[in-house]
């Protein structure tokens, strides 16, 4: 409840922010503060300095381009959830942001902060994996891009280096349908299990499926066996059931998360059920169910 003392600096630009964190051995960026501040208040984190990136204009906002949308790192979930183009072109991302936390959290939490923090139970990792998004990162050596598939490394661990920051996420306008099915932890509201789906349909046939899961492993994870179960076929009760059965089959059961609410075994059970629910919702959105 009582955080340790810290210094505070407000960065005016991305390069200022990078200078500030690279010039200090124990500095943390602060975006929405909705993960960082709770850990500081409970004494789990005691950074000596906070570098506030909240006022950096270039990190804010949603820009639509031909074939993709760029979401600035400081964009709040609430703004994403209200973006009609994203609901059209990448519904899995829009729907996921709508299901994060509560209204206060959605008004403060940021897209960049969420994926950079990489809490295994947070909701956005599954969506950026399913949406096949690209993460833009800036650092002392300039800018670079990483595919979502290569971005999440482990619990609270990503491809972002110590002196780097996420500037935004690029979401391709691909796939004709998507959905997010979430089982919230009744205590925290985070994902006990969350399954994000993007389907690219060719008529009634699933040409391509990308499925990302939250809350199950130590980081957001693709469910390839479930994707294989629906790809190349018409979406049906049978194929969806097969995807549910296959959902956890490639995961190492010993690495599956366990907590007060759900054992590893039961998490995998939920994973199957929520994979089916996400596919059903996506199928309905695509008009094939």
């Amino acid at each position: 409840m009582y955080p340790a003392q810290f210094d505070y600096e407000k960065a005016g630009s991305v390069s200022e922010a990078i200078d500030a964190i690279s010039g200090h051995s124990d500095a943390e960026l602060i975006a929405g503060g909705h993960s960082l501040l709770p850990t500081m208040k409970s004494g789990l984190a005691e950074p000596e300095m906070l570098v506030d990136i909240g006022d950096i204009d270039e990190l804010h906002g949603i820009e639509h381009h031909d074939g993709h949308t760029h979401i600035g790192a400081m964009t709040r979930y609430a703004d994403v959830a209200e973006d009609n183009t994203l609901w059209e072109e990448a519904p899995v991302v829009a729907e996921t942001t709508e299901m994060i936390g509560d209204r206060q959290v959605r008004n403060r939490g940021t897209v960049g902060g969420n994926i950079a923090h990489a809490d295994p139970a947070s909701d956005l990792p599954g969506a950026v994996l399913a949406a096949d998004a690209t993460v833009h990162i800036a650092g002392p050596d300039g800018e670079r891009s990483v595919e979502a598939d290569d971005f999440f490394h482990g619990m609270y661990a990503t491809d972002v280096g110590e002196d780097e920051l996420v500037t935004g996420v690029q979401v391709p306008h691909e796939g004709t349908a998507g959905a997010y099915a979430k089982k919230p932890n009744p205590a925290s509201g985070y994902a006990l299990v969350g399954v994000a789906v993007r389907l690219t349909m060719d008529g009634d046939t699933v040409a391509d499926a990308r499925i990302g899961a939250n809350g199950v492993m130590d980081h957001g994870t693709r469910l390839e066996p479930a994707e294989d179960a629906v790809e190349g076929q018409a979406l049906s009760g049978d194929s969806i059931g097969a995807a549910g059965d296959a959902a956890g089959s490639s995961l190492d059961e010993y690495m599956v998360m366990e907590d007060q609410q759900a054992s590893a075994e039961f998490r995998l059970q939920l994973l199957g059920a929520y994979t089916e629910r996400a596919l059903e919702a996506a199928g309905e959105r695509a008009g094939v169910l």
Partner: protein, 802 residues
């Protein structure tokens, strides 16, 4: 006693008090007058209080549940910026031992020091305190106090604690048995079981719960050395009780100690008890001669607030060939926590086992309860306190018995109810139920659920692989515990009356002082409604004062749903005394015999002479002017009463839930929740509804989500709201309420009490519904909380559907 019915299926509508005539104010759903200040943030809570030169206190708490204290090194903390003082057990020269206010014959009264000196017995036990200029400094310095521990084995569960090889928590007690208690007729019950056609038995775990008042506990203490007066503002449900107990704990004369409860943000029982923290705040203020403030962090409330429930029970029911209950036998191991909290021994005994007859005619009952010391925080009253545990045992067994004898559970209940003409009804467990009509609440609930139609739908759904269930909960509770003589015989070290003053000011306005101490219930509104009705004075002319030992003569506080029944009774008695005195003054002025002066709607009137009248407000003016009052009369218009009811009151009702269970995920969806409650006369139906709603939310919280979980070292693993699932609004279904009204004969308002009804009723309504839904899977029981995983496992345990 006649029973009336009211319906609020779409909710009770609030009314602006300005739109209600004084004659109609009692019983009307007027808006709560306290709400504007509470919702706008203007209300003052303990932590809002600022005093010049105020310091801040933080506690050094044990991180271990059981350990010897080897050494406490405070030197580093003392050197830190802003630190004013650090105290350990060695620095205290007062008794410093927290008392237990309810004794049982076999009770082991163990020491409960306000600072642990040689041993800590739960995670959170206080070892030292730090006082500093700033709150942050106090917390930083508390972290710097270095305590060396020698860890001991710990135990969290009562069953394990009572095992022979369990680590002994209080060596002076010799074992972990805090008491061994019984009620009922052992022999007759044994015989009933021997002669029974069938019996059913369930092992039931009623889990530990953490109270979650919005406002954490807090105290501000201020000492005036010149007068030796010690003033405390604190989060209290009963300031006078706290004052009496604390004066002994810190050895400060009671008349020099004043305790005030500013606005208090919820309690649910957790703010009844005398904890170490407030005594330590007071001692520090006295020693330093500076104000001291302590406010618990949420983390502290999770490890130090007295927790609730914590029962491990085996219950058995005996039945004859016609499905009549012929006997009930219950054995409970109750978790008392590390020490005996203020009223702890009464909760799993007199507040529990005396309700085991439920709404049923049961010829014989026998119950034994073993209290167990464990290494969890002290366990004491939490909303419902003993009665939810009892109702859970009875209603789970009833459901199981109905299944066993192959009767519909509604019909089984109807057949076994105490009949409407049997009141007052003496149970085999020492209770005399005042009044009731259980058939009526059952019928109403069935009607609201379309019960018969539901059974058909359920059948149909099962064929489609969908699992619906209905759960009934016929609950009874005893609240407004009284009279004092009786509770004394049962072991209480206090009386359970209530006191009030009703005082007119010369201008005709009224102030009511009452010894209950509301903390969210809306007493300012309901008490003013009572007085407006009795005195016929405009509602806006009435002020209610509670929660201050300097202003209110005496009081026992607010808990156990006692405020309306006992506090309300005290107010009515004072109002009546005021009316009688006023009648003499009025008669004097109207030159009539007092016997000929009638009082109605705030006016005294000579019988048969409507133009000869005077209002009570004018009489009040005259009483203080005292120019023209009867010769033998003292001036002034006020009265004090101590009301000691002749018995408890017994609210009752029927709650019922319809749920659907997803066998794939164990998820539970509510289709309906109906609550038909009989809480006697309703002073304000909107407030009644709010209490019912809140209680149900807490009951559903227990049924589905909440549980204080401890690991093998008795460390709390649900130490924050990230892990302990407090129900959110989205977890609670729409609730349909209806009520019947059976007046209680035991108080002048005919009220019963509503504060705990929902919490008592809801858990078993939900569990019974889930068990009903899972009948095809042969599931007899699932322990609360019914997490999705537990439900899913239960479904799969017996190899799926049968």
């Amino acid at each position: 006693m006649a029973t009336e019915e009211t319906d609020h299926e779409d909710g009770v509508q609030s009314i602006d008090p300005d739109d209600v005539d004084t004659e109609d104010i009692l019983g009307s759903a007027i808006e709560r007058r306290e709400d504007p200040a509470l919702v706008s943030g203007e209300a003052e809570y303990t932590d809002d209080i600022q005093k010049p030169e105020m310091t801040h206190m933080a506690m050094v708490r044990s991180q271990y549940a059981h350990a010897e204290i080897e050494e406490v090194d405070t030197s580093a903390a003392e050197e830190m910026d802003g630190v004013v003082a650090v105290y350990t057990a060695d620095d205290l020269d007062v008794p410093g031992n927290l008392p237990v206010g309810w004794l049982l014959d076999s009770l082991e009264q163990v020491n409960h020091p306000i600072l642990a000196g040689d041993r800590v017995r739960y995670q959170g036990d206080a070892v030292a305190i730090v006082v500093a200029e700033e709150r942050y400094q106090a917390h930083d310095a508390a972290d710097a106090v270095d305590v060396e521990y020698e860890r001991l084995d710990a135990v969290a569960h009562p069953g394990e604690a009572l095992d022979d090889d369990a680590p002994v928590i209080h060596e002076e007690a010799g074992s972990n048995q805090a008491f061994d208690w019984e009620i009922g007729d052992q022999e007759a019950t044994k015989q009933a079981f021997e002669e029974a056609e069938t019996t059913v038995s369930l092992d039931l775990h009623n889990q530990l719960l953490i109270p979650n008042a919005i406002e954490p506990r807090a105290t501000v203490a201020d000492y005036h050395p010149r007068t030796d007066e010690l003033e405390l503002d604190m989060t209290s449900q009963n300031p006078h009780v706290h004052r009496l107990l604390m004066s002994g704990v810190i050895d400060h004369p009671e008349h020099k100690l004043s305790i005030r409860a500013p606005e208090v943000g919820g309690g649910f029982g957790s703010k009844i008890h005398h904890y170490a923290d407030e005594a330590l705040t007071a001692l520090a203020a006295k020693d330093l001669e500076r104000p001291v403030k302590w406010t618990a962090t949420r983390t502290e409330t999770y490890i130090t607030d007295a927790q609730g429930r914590g029962h491990e029970t085996t219950g058995e029911m005996a039945l004859d060939e016609d499905g009549n209950i012929t006997g009930l036998r219950v054995h409970t191991k109750a978790n008392m926590g590390a020490y005996l909290s203020t009223f702890a021994p009464s909760i799993p005994t007199y507040l529990y086992a005396t309700l085991l007859s439920g709404q049923y005619e049961i010829p014989t009952i026998y119950c034994t309860v073993e209290g167990a010391f464990t290494n969890v925080p002290p366990v004491d009253a939490y909303r419902g306190a003993g009665r939810p545990e009892a109702s859970y045992v009875v209603e789970r067994l009833v459901r199981q018995a109905a299944r066993e004898v192959d009767m519909d559970p509604a019909e089984f209940r109807r057949q076994n109810f105490v009949p409407g003409d049997a009141f007052p009804y003496e149970t085999p467990v020492a209770m005399a139920y005042d009044s009731g009509d259980y058939q009526k609440t059952l019928d109403r609930a069935k009607e609201m659920l379309n019960y018969e139609e539901f059974r058909e739908r359920q059948e149909q759904a099962r064929e489609d692989g969908r699992y619906l269930g209905v759960g009934l909960s016929a609950y009874i509770e005893a609240c407004g515990i009284a009279p004092s003589e009786l509770v004394g015989e049962l072991g209480a070290q206090a009386g359970l009356w209530e006191s009030s003053v009703v005082r007119f000011q010369p201008s005709g306005t009224v102030t009511v002082y009452v010894g209950t101490s509301g903390h969210g219930q809306g007493h300012d509104t309901t008490y003013a409604q009572i007085v407006a009705d009795k005195l016929g004075v405009d509602y806006d002319d009435i002020e209610v004062e509670e929660g201050d030992t300097d202003e209110i003569p005496q009081g026992m506080g607010t808990y156990g749903s006692r405020s309306a029944a006992v506090g309300g009774g005290a107010i009515v008695e004072s109002a009546e005394k005021v009316i009688e005195k006023g009648r003499k003054i009025a008669a004097h002025q109207l030159e009539a015999d007092p016997e000929d002066v009638e009082f109605e709607n705030g006016e005294y009137q000579v019988a048969g002479a409507p133009d000869r009248s005077v209002t009570i407000q004018d009489v009040a003016g005259a009483s203080y002017l005292a120019h023209d009052i009867p010769d033998d009369m003292e001036p002034g218009l006020e009265a004090t009463s101590f009301f000691d009811p002749e018995n408890f009151v017994f609210p009752f009702g029927m709650h019922a839930a319809i749920v659907e269970v997803d066998p794939d995920t164990g998820e539970i969806e509510f289709e309906e929740y109906v609550a038909v409650d009989d809480v006697g006369n309703q002073i304000n139906p909107k407030i009644v509804e709010g209490q019912i709603h809140g209680g149900i939310a807490q009951g559903i919280g227990q049924a589905l989500y909440e549980s204080a979980e401890y690991d093998d070292n008795a460390q709390l693993t649900t130490g924050s709201m990230q892990d302990y699932a407090v129900p959110k609004s989205s977890h609670i279904p729409e609730i349909k309420t209806a009520s019947t009204v059976t007046e209680s004969p035991h108080n002048p308002l005919g009220v019963k009490g509503v504060g705990e009804a929902g919490t008592i009723a809801a858990p078993q309504a939900v569990v019974n519904a889930v068990v009903d839904a899972l009948e095809p899977f042969d599931v007899d029981h699932i322990d609360m909380p019914l997490t999705n995983e537990r439900v899913w496992r239960a479904i799969n345990e017996n190899g799926g559907e049968h």
